[in-house]
């Protein structure tokens, strides 16, 4: 797999990303996947809803990657992040194929949803789309 097309004309401002997952292995690899992209930076990571909400308020990141089954409640975290930092786009990242859980996140204002197990490329594409760097599909 080749790297993502490297040079758009004038590289715009970096996308600030917050990553929220209670699984450390996933948290670490997601951080690395994002960090290895030239146009994104990880500004915070959180392992529970409390932390995620607090850090969202402090950093108001462009993007938040949020585990649906998250200690403290994925939908709750989504609502609170949206309240503290309305500019943050939230990508729900779930190990479920459970459409009910998706619905709940949608109600909480989440528009982008990805099942864990998607490829890194799909993950990054979803992030860029959410960050307005790609046309909505």
């Amino acid at each position: 797999m080749t790297a993502e097309a490297s040079g758009p004309k004038a590289p715009p401002r970096q996308l600030d990303v917050m990553i929220c997952d209670d699984n450390i292995m996933l948290l670490e690899v997601l951080r690395e996947v994002v960090e290895s992209e030239p146009d994104m930076t990880v500004v915070a990571t959180a392992q529970n809803a409390e932390e995620a909400i607090r850090l969202a308020g402090r950093h108001t990141p462009d993007l938040a990657v949020l585990d649906v089954r998250f200690p403290g409640g994925g939908p709750y975290a989504a609502r609170e992040i949206a309240r503290r930092s309305p500019r943050t786009g939230i990508l729900a990242f779930s190990a479920h194929g459970d459409s009910g859980a998706v619905g709940e996140m949608r109600h909480a204002g989440v528009t982008e949803y990805l099942v864990k197990g998607a490829t890194n490329r799909e993950f990054l594409t979803a992030l860029r789309r959410l960050g307005g760097r790609l046309p909505k599909s």
Binding site: L26, A95, D98, S99, G117, T119, N120
Partner: protein
């Protein structure tokens, strides 16, 4: 014995006499009921064949004796016979179920009705007593109740265990494997050939394993059934699993309200097995699922257009699907059926009751297992008097608020 009352002697005495005689013969000959009379003091004054069969006494052995002879000593000590007569006098009749004693000292479970008999002037003339031996029926009912209770227990345990395994696999194993896969992709992007290709290959293998594991967890525990309901869980099952078998499917549902979680799992599991059978055996191209509220319960139908091979009853050995489906439906208090028409397909149809029940919510409430199906008797451990355990009313206030 008393004959049907007649207001005066103006009838046709001969006819009346004949019908009285026939009536007396009927009462004397009936075997299934002990029918006899007591004088106002409780002494036996008549006896029939049924009473002899049930209690073991001949008429000449028992007439004149006090009816408390039939009661166990503890009841006699508690003056139950006397109280029963008093109640019958006060209220006209009394019905009771309990242990009684036969001539040989053995016990039987009796249903007893005592009726007070008054003459035209309101004077107590005695009592009519009808006794039925319910021992066998009671034993059969208890066996059935016990059987159901055990089965429900088993099903509940099995579901809980499956759910636990599903969560463990889901939360731990799958997530770790996903992380491994993502890392392999990262590495593949950084490595020169031939390593990059090999890493990509490894990533594929991991990804396939993740998919298989995810399907396993879905089978172990239908996602969303607890929170999002039966229809949602069935819909996902059709689109995730049945679709992958290449079966065209339809799903019609008209339900008045969401069944209790336990009923939902019962229905889901039966449908799951019925669909699996369609996949394994029917060679069908389409399957229609329908779910409908009927008679305070849910009627479910799984209809395929496959070979409709009639079931060979001798071939049940080693096949558990059919047995288990029926068992699940019946233990929930419902019924289950399978119809096959060669060439036209097979229909599995079942109904399970789902009365609005307050005791079903898995919260430990006082009393037995808390299944709406088998109320009384079940608490036979003598911990409390058989007072109503207050179902039907509102749930206990403490457990109202959810998370």
């Amino acid at each position: 014995m008393t004959a049907p009352q007649d207001s005066s002697g103006t009838g046709r005495p001969a006819r009346r006499q004949a019908s009285e005689t026939a009536f007396t013969l009927l009462v004397q000959g009936v075997l299934d009921y002990g029918i006899f009379m007591l004088d106002p003091g409780g002494h036996i004054s008549s006896w029939n064949a049924g009473a002899e069969r049930i209690k073991g006494y001949r008429a000449d052995e028992i007439i004149g004796r006090h009816f408390s002879t039939f009661y166990p000593p503890e009841d006699v000590a508690a003056q139950k016979p006397q109280r029963e007569l008093e109640t019958a006098v006060a209220e006209g009749r009394l019905e009771d179920e309990g242990w009684r004693i036969r001539k040989d000292g053995s016990r039987f479970w009796a249903n007893v009705v005592i009726t007070a008999l008054f003459d035209e002037d309101g004077v107590l003339r005695g009592f009519g007593k009808v006794t039925r031996d319910m021992t066998e029926r009671r034993a059969a009912e208890q066996a059935l109740t016990e059987h159901r209770r055990l089965f429900e227990h088993l099903v509940r345990g099995q579901e809980q265990e499956r759910q636990r395994i599903a969560w463990d696999v889901h939360d731990d194993t799958i997530q770790s494997m996903v992380a491994v896969g993502m890392r392999l992709q990262l590495l593949a992007g950084r490595m020169p050939e031939p390593y990059a290709a090999e890493l990509a290959q490894l990533d594929h293998t991991v990804r396939d394993a993740v998919t298989r594991l995810r399907n396993l967890t879905f089978r172990l525990h239908p996602p969303g059934i607890d929170r999002h309901g039966l229809v949602e869980a069935l819909t996902s099952h059709l689109s995730d699993v049945v679709e992958s078998w290449g079966l065209t499917h339809s799903f019609e549902h008209r339900i008045d309200r969401e069944p209790s979680p336990e009923r939902a799992v019962t229905i889901f599991r039966i449908v799951q097995e019925a669909l699996l059978n369609v996949h394994k055996h029917a060679n069908a191209s389409r399957v229609a699922l329908s779910l409908e509220s009927v008679d305070n319960g849910l009627l479910t139908r799984v209809k395929d257009d496959g070979n409709g091979r009639p079931l060979d009853p001798t071939a049940y050995h080693g096949h558990f699907g059919v047995m288990e489906m029926r068992e699940r439906a019946e233990s929930a208090g419902g019924w289950w059926s399978l119809r096959s028409e060669p060439g036209a397909g097979t229909t599995v149809e079942f109904w399970v009751p789902d009365l609005p029940s307050t005791s079903e919510d898995d919260v430990p409430t006082p009393g037995p297992a808390g299944d709406g199906a088998s109320p009384d008797a079940a608490a036979g451990d003598g911990t409390s008097p058989p007072a109503a355990t207050g179902d039907g009313a509102s749930p206990s206030p403490a457990e109202e608020e959810g998370p």
